[in-house]
């Protein structure tokens, strides 16, 4: 796989980032170097190994389903400038 401008732009689009030409040109060699280091793991045989997504086994810790007071609408909306009729106001979806 070649690490070029096209790939960087594809990743950036997925990540909702608009990169400047300078950022793209910086990221290309940096990505090459880092991904080459990541590929060191190919040397290890892992066919029969289970992946660990946590450092230890964690069982489902679910709480009791008890009705309790939650945060008020006012509190929830407090940190947003964009709001209307007790809702968040967002950009156009369509």
């Amino acid at each position: 796989m070649e690490i070029n401008k096209e790939l960087i732009l594809k990743v950036a689009k997925n990540a909702r980032l608009n990169l400047s030409e300078q950022e793209i040109q910086e990221f290309i060699p940096q990505f090459k170097e880092v991904l080459n280091a990541f590929s060191q793991l190919d040397k290890l045989k892992t066919e029969n190994i289970k992946p660990s997504f946590q450092p230890g086994e964690i069982r489902n810790n679910v709480r009791e389903d008890i009705i309790r007071e939650s945060l008020s609408e006012e509190e929830i909306l407090k940190n947003s400038k964009h709001k209307k009729d007790n809702y968040f106001l967002g950009p156009k979806a369509l």
């Binding site: 796989m1 960087i8 990743v11 950036a12 997925n14 990540a15 909702r16 980032l17 608009n18 990169l19 950022e23 990221f27 940096q30 990505f31 170097e33 880092v34 991904l35 280091a37 990541f38 590929s39 060191q40 793991l41 190919d42 290890l44 892992t46 190994i49 289970k50 992946p51 660990s52 997504f53 946590q54 450092p55 230890g56 964690i58 489902n60 810790n61 679910v62 709480r63 945060l71 509190e75 929830i76 407090k78 940190n79 947003s80 400038k81 964009h82 968040f88 106001l89 967002g90 950009p91 156009k92 979806a93 369509l94």
Partner: protein
């Protein structure tokens, strides 16, 4: 006056806590002007808490001044995780650890400087418009990171203070080492993550930085425990960690990590840590060499694949809508979110989002993300085996002395990541570990890292105590 004596005086109303808090805040402002350890000093909150305490001076932390890493939420105090994208965000709740400290009489003095979202080992990747904290021993050098402000203020504060830090891959240990203070990272799940602005959920751990092992033990005792608000917090009994301060280290079996004293380690750092190990030997510990070949060779790529993958998903929520920095609502949602994110994330945040997005992308996921998760299993097993024969494992905390800013500028991102060689291992395995200040060389501090088995934080406190001033 040690911390316990001070707490007793506060409890007995022998100290005018309101007047004292005012003095402490003045000192914080003065230090901050010179060293940039705080993103916010929470003056009003501290004075309100001091007033309440003057009427009812109770709690295990009565009157103790606590600084909180900026990524840990404090109600009504701007909490940005050092990122411009969270400018103006004032949480409507306390993180559980903060709440527990307040309930024990702590006074919150402010939010400490850090690498943006924890993305760095030197606290130089601060968010756009934030200031870089400076090493308390030499302003040309880094504090270590990402909890750099926490390390710096812990060293400089002349008042009774403990920092609440957070570690993903070395963010408590590195600043503890470079600022010559104690830093304790508990087992994964021992302290609730509720109210933490996440970096990597399967790695993040809150923990204390203090001037002594006693300070860390006390703080851990207060913040540890199960929290129904954090599904990954451990539903297991906590301990009286301060009890371990009375126990001797005699009889401890110590494993010296062979690879951590080999090539690429500053010889003076190595010598200082080996001298500290000799001190433990004199106290009756036995020493044995232990090898962790997989961890030391593959730890860095494994950590960076998994941590950036988790970070890229966590940071997907920052889009300028519900909190933090916003822009004029123009264009469709893709255009709007992209604009807010591109303008307000710093360079390292963008780089880690990009790396993490790439390793999770269709076609690459198995080769990178799943592969790394499997190697993580092998690394966890390697530690489990090593800790069958010994009580603790020891290495230097950092392979180098606190670097000058000019040296860091010349490093590529990979060279930068490689400097986490000592600390990523125990963080991949979720094991408790501590950085203990063990001396100076060329007037710069050296930290020794001690790793114990799951939930054996007590052993770290015992060993740490041997190096209290």
């Amino acid at each position: 006056m040690n911390l316990q004596e001070y707490i007793k005086k506060v409890q007995n109303k022998e100290i005018d806590i309101i007047e004292y808090t005012k003095k402490v805040l003045e000192e914080c402002k003065k230090i901050n002007k010179e060293y940039h350890y705080f993103n916010t000093i929470s003056e009003d909150l501290a004075l309100t808490q001091a007033k309440a305490l003057s009427k009812n001076p109770k709690g295990k932390l009565a009157g103790v001044f606590i600084s909180v890493k900026d990524s840990i939420c404090v109600k009504d105090i701007e909490s940005t995780a050092g990122s411009k994208i969270l400018r103006g965000y004032k949480p409507i709740f306390h993180a559980t650890a903060v709440e527990k400290a307040i309930n024990e009489g702590a006074i919150i003095i402010g939010k400490t400087a850090q690498d943006e979202f924890g993305f760095g080992g030197f606290a130089v990747n601060v968010g756009l418009d934030f200031q870089i904290p400076l090493n308390p021993f030499d302003k040309k050098r880094a504090t270590g990171g990402s909890s750099g402000g926490a390390g710096g203020i812990t060293q400089k504060a002349s008042f009774p203070h403990i920092a609440l830090g957070e570690c993903t891959g070395g963010s408590i240990e590195s600043p503890a080492s470079f600022c010559s203070v104690f830093g304790l990272v508990p087992s994964y799940g021992r302290v609730s993550r509720y109210g933490l602005i996440d970096y990597g959920n399967s790695f993040d751990k809150l923990g204390p930085l203090g001037k002594s092992s006693d300070d860390c033990a006390l703080m851990l005792e207060v913040i540890a425990g199960f929290d129904p608000k954090d599904a990954t917090s451990l539903n297991k009994k906590t301990e009286s960690y301060t009890n371990y301060l009375k126990k001797e280290v005699k009889g401890f079996k110590i494993g010296i990590i062979k690879e951590a004293f080999g090539e690429g380690i500053d010889p003076q750092v190595k010598e200082t840590v080996l001298n500290a190990i000799k001190k433990l030997e004199k106290k009756g510990c036995t020493i044995k060499e232990v090898s962790l070949p997989l961890t030391m060779k593959y730890g860095i790529p494994t950590y960076y694949i998994l941590a950036t993958a988790e970070a890229s998903t966590n940071l997907a929520k920052y889009c300028g809508m519900r909190y933090g920095t916003t822009e004029e609502l123009k264009g469709n949602f893709d255009e709007y979110f992209t604009k807010v994110r591109s303008k307000n994330f710093g360079k390292e945040a963008k780089r880690r989002i990009m790396l993490g997005t790439f390793t999770r992308m269709s076609g690459f996921r198995d080769a990178y993300y799943i592969k790394a998760a499997k190697v993580r299993t092998l690394i966890i097993e390697e530690y489990k085996n090593a800790l069958k024969d010994v009580d603790v494992l020891i290495s230097p905390t950092m392979p180098l002395l606190p670097p000058e800013f000019s040296e860091l500028k010349n490093l590529t991102p990979l060279q930068n990541y490689m400097l986490d060689i000592m600390t990523v291992g125990p963080n991949l395995a979720g094991l408790p570990h501590a950085s203990i200040p063990v001396g100076f060389t060329k007037d710069l501090p050296v930290g020794m890292m001690v790793i114990s088995n799951y939930l054996e934080e007590g052993k770290l406190i015992q060993i740490g105590k041997e190096f209290n001033n």
